[in-house]
Assembly symmetry: C2
């Protein structure tokens, strides 16, 4: 029996999961077909797939606005997405002209994208409240993707592209399928660190692409830290001019930042910038005199500097002007203010700080000084009408927080207790502690990330609702443009499915099969996602 | 003081190590200059460097054959190397046209390459006996590189290119320097595994480039294994047709293999192919009936297969014809025959094998059967006039080996004892046990590889001489084209210096400084070598 005929039979009479097995190929041998079957990642909430297979022809198939859609050709976000997903589905048709040789009529002529809400949000930015749900009906002669607005449509387009599979003759097929889908968690983030190493723009954009393929929707941009300050501020140009690794080649100009934000928006991804203070600020001090605390050695300054100096009015003047700019540069409703790992030793050494502590009645409790600083900073940021995210220490230290503050739990020693406390106090929270992807190890560590259940802590239903998601963090000590992408993908994909799919989707074996194929799909789309284990992709990375 | 003037002063009056420190830049700030200083890797045996700096101009500088050299323009190996190193030194002049704008006379007009032996070996292949020593005198108006033959010249060209540094204005400088250099160990290898994942040709070539930058001279090509058989044999085409991941896209054709060998030869790198038997051969069985042992479940065959079947004459007929082809395809004097990790359970289950064991008087000692097979295989390979390398088990099992056999020590449990035994028996050996680079971990594990001293075992001077080198092994379970290069470099560079430089070159701090710069040099040459730690390269990978 020819391969094609067998495949068609397989498609006609069996569900696609059965087609995942061993097939006889044209060499008369059993050979694992790892490529051509459907592998949805992350798994949608509800999938009904019949065995009926339809053809898609690159020459006649189109993605179009559905009749009655509130979005039309002027919705450039969707227009761009249509083109992008057409290219993902058919490859670069100009390059692989072979596809055009398969002249036949499409069974499925169109994917009609129907936006139902009065405002399709074409020109808006995604937010924590965005509705990402969608439904997808794949049938003859048209498939229909329905969503309230563009954010759901983007997710549905990704899913549709994952449903299409190619047979050995280069023909594209899609099974009759019915999907209704929505994310389990609203905040599904990736943290990249551009301070410990500078990441050239194209690598940030490439990873936004990969995020969209895994339905992530937040780029947590840990943009500055102790080691360098690549963010170019218009108000304080010296910050990057003196604090970046290089003032011209290793900075993000306002135009770079705009490009990242727009590229992310087009993919339904929020950009939450982090400006972490009062610790992690060594690089700030290079371009802003008197911002950091002078450390003392005995009775005289040692020449080195500690955290932001919390006792000077100039500090708060600076922060007011700086965050005013930041709040206009980054359109997202939230700014991440950091607040983690403040080392008190420099504060302790400084006599002026000691005097201030006495005056305020803080005694020797430097966490009170930290809280004092953070409190004032939060008020400053609130006045820009932004919400804020903070690392867990800010909550742990008892700082008074606005009700809509998001507390990020990152310490891996007592995660469940911390989630209990944060949600018990009525704050929303996101989880990153189990997903520090910079900690590499030998073997399939993605399984460890996959098995995490964010809601396994003791708490009421109300408390569980306050866990709005999580983040995979790739800190930059050992990561730059040379190894970023293969180190992040597909390990972060495991987190992607955990945050999107139903909590019962947790079978590691099924995940392995789907993720193996999904990573080959990412590779085919140009993302250098590393292998899970022994095997191959039909189209290897950068292969001939 | 302007940067340029300061740099010139620095170059004129100080040694380059002093220039490694902090310099005032044009922003009036202290800023670490991590880029523009000389960092030799691996460190040559003898370096004398004066502070006198000379200019090199891209428009007038040339690499030429020295007067009286036995090699001339017909030596395409050198002609290619001259072009390659010119490009490394000046970058892509067409792309960075700026270099051409620096119009000034070169202080150093030429690098004269003088080959002294009657036979320069332009058309030969490197061997374990190749003389890689060279001397280098950098002076005005010409630098002179002297070597017995092309192999030493290649090493010296790499060193010369590492001596050249660029200042902030794009001008190239080289200090007056005198170097005499030779490798501590003759065998300095990298193992890549193309069976567990297929590596497209260009990634193999890219890593041969990186090997040359680190003065490695052996590509140990673990070309086939259980999981796939990508080597296309003319004699037995079914081996790859049925045993490769894909018969057309995932194979190395004879022409591919030739290209690898020639590309390596041009860089003074031997290609030692490994065809590992009798274990690690599952993929061989797909294209060669009756080659593998049928395993039994009780009294009937189970359908699965074990190691090569050592009791059939057809096995040895096959091996004779196969290795006859292999011996002509690979010009190196050695073939690696594997011989590791033979699982006896299948042999034990097979009644025919049991009968054979009885007949031969092997009792229940299956290592005797393994030795029987290996012994016959070694005789077959000997008859092709090739030498062989084997993994340590072959020696451990007491197989009778030819005097020139190279035993590879890979088991990390008792390395010193094994080295003692192997060399005590008079065999040459190479060490790979401490350098399994597929075992990744968080942090600067290159230091662990760097600190290994191959001759630290108890033994006579004669025994120590038998340790001819070592290999860094990157097994392919978790490695393919997406992550190969950043996972291998610069971690393998640590092994490169250990095997080339004097045993007293072991200061980790100095190594860190030089390797940080060397990895940026690799990045600038297009190799995605990952960072050692926090910091930056003036020219980031794939940056704008």
């Amino acid at each position: 029996m020819g391969v094609l005929r067998f495949l068609r039979l397989c498609a006609l009479f069996l569900t696609f999961t059965v087609c995942n097995g061993w097939l006889f190929d044209s060499f008369g041998e059993q050979r694992r077909r790892e490529a051509d079957e459907v592998a949805l990642w992350p798994l949608p909430q509800k999938v009904q797939s019949s065995g009926t297979a339809f053809r898609l022809s690159a020459t006649s198939f189109q993605i179009v606005h559905g009749k009655g859609s509130t979005a039309g050709p002027s919705c450039s976000l969707l227009q761009n997405a249509f083109r992008r997903y057409y290219n993902y589905i058919f490859g670069d048709v100009r390059k692989h002209g072979k596809n055009l040789n398969n002249v036949f009529d499409s069974d499925v002529l169109e994917l009609q994208v129907l936006i139902t809400a009065a405002d399709p949000e074409c020109d808006g930015y995604p937010s924590i409240k965005s509705d990402e749900s969608y439904s997808l009906e794949v049938d003859q002669p048209a498939a229909v993707l329905k969503a309230a607005n563009v954010w759901g449509a983007l997710r549905g387009l990704e899913t549709f592209s994952q449903l299409v599979y190619e047979d050995d003759y280069g023909a594209h097929n899609v099974n009759k399928t019915s999907i209704s889908d929505f994310p389990r968690f609203a905040h599904r983030g990736i943290l990249l660190d551009t301070s410990r190493h500078y990441l050239p723009l194209r690598f940030i954009l490439e990873n936004l692409e990969a995020m969209a393929m895994n339905k992530f929707n937040v780029f947590h941009w840990h943009i500055v830290d102790d080691h360098s300050f690549p963010f170019q501020s218009r108000t304080f140009p010296d910050l990057s001019h003196k604090g970046a690794f290089h003032p011209f080649t290793h900075v993000y100009t306002p135009s770079d930042v705009k490009m990242v934000i727009e590229f992310a928006r087009m993919r339904g991804i929020r950009v939450v910038a982090e400006f972490d203070t009062p610790g992690h600020t060594q690089s700030w001090g290079k371009g802003q005199t008197d911002l950091l605390t002078p450390c003392y050695s005995g009775s005289s300054p040692s020449g080195s500097f500690g955290p932001v100096n919390p006792i000077l009015n100039t500090t708060y003047d600076f922060m007011t002007r700086f965050f005013k700019e930041v709040s206009t540069v980054f359109p997202d409703a939230y700014i991440h203010l950091g607040g983690d790992e403040v080392d008190f030793s420099c504060w302790k050494s400084n006599p002026d700080i000691q005097k201030f502590m006495d005056k305020q009645g803080f005694g020797q409790d430097y966490s009170k000084l930290e809280s004092y600083y953070i409190q004032r900073l939060l008020d400053i940021v609130s006045s820009t009408n932004k919400g804020y995210m903070v690392w867990q220490e800010v909550f742990d230290n008892g700082v008074k927080l606005k009700a809509d503050t998001v507390v990020e739990v990152w310490m891996n020693n007592n995660v469940e207790k911390e989630l209990q406390n944060v949600t018990g106090s009525g704050f929303t929270t996101i989880l990153s502690a189990p997903w520090y992807l910079d900690y590499i190890s030998y073997g399939q560590d993605w399984q460890k990330y996959y098995k995490v259940e964010p809601l396994s802590f003791d708490g009421t239903a109300e408390q569980k609702k306050l866990v709005i998601g999580g983040e995979a963090c790739l800190w930059g000590e050992y990561v730059d443009a040379t190894n970023l992408t293969p180190r992040l993908w597909p390990r972060a994909s495991a987190v992607g499915e955990r945050l999107w799919s139903d909590e019962n989707v947790k079978d590691v074996g099924s995940a392995y099969d789907r993720l193996t194929k999904h990573r080959c799909r990412m590779v085919r789309r140009g993302i250098a996602a590393e292998p899970l284990y022994i095997g191959f992709c039909p189209h290897e990375y950068g292969g001939q």
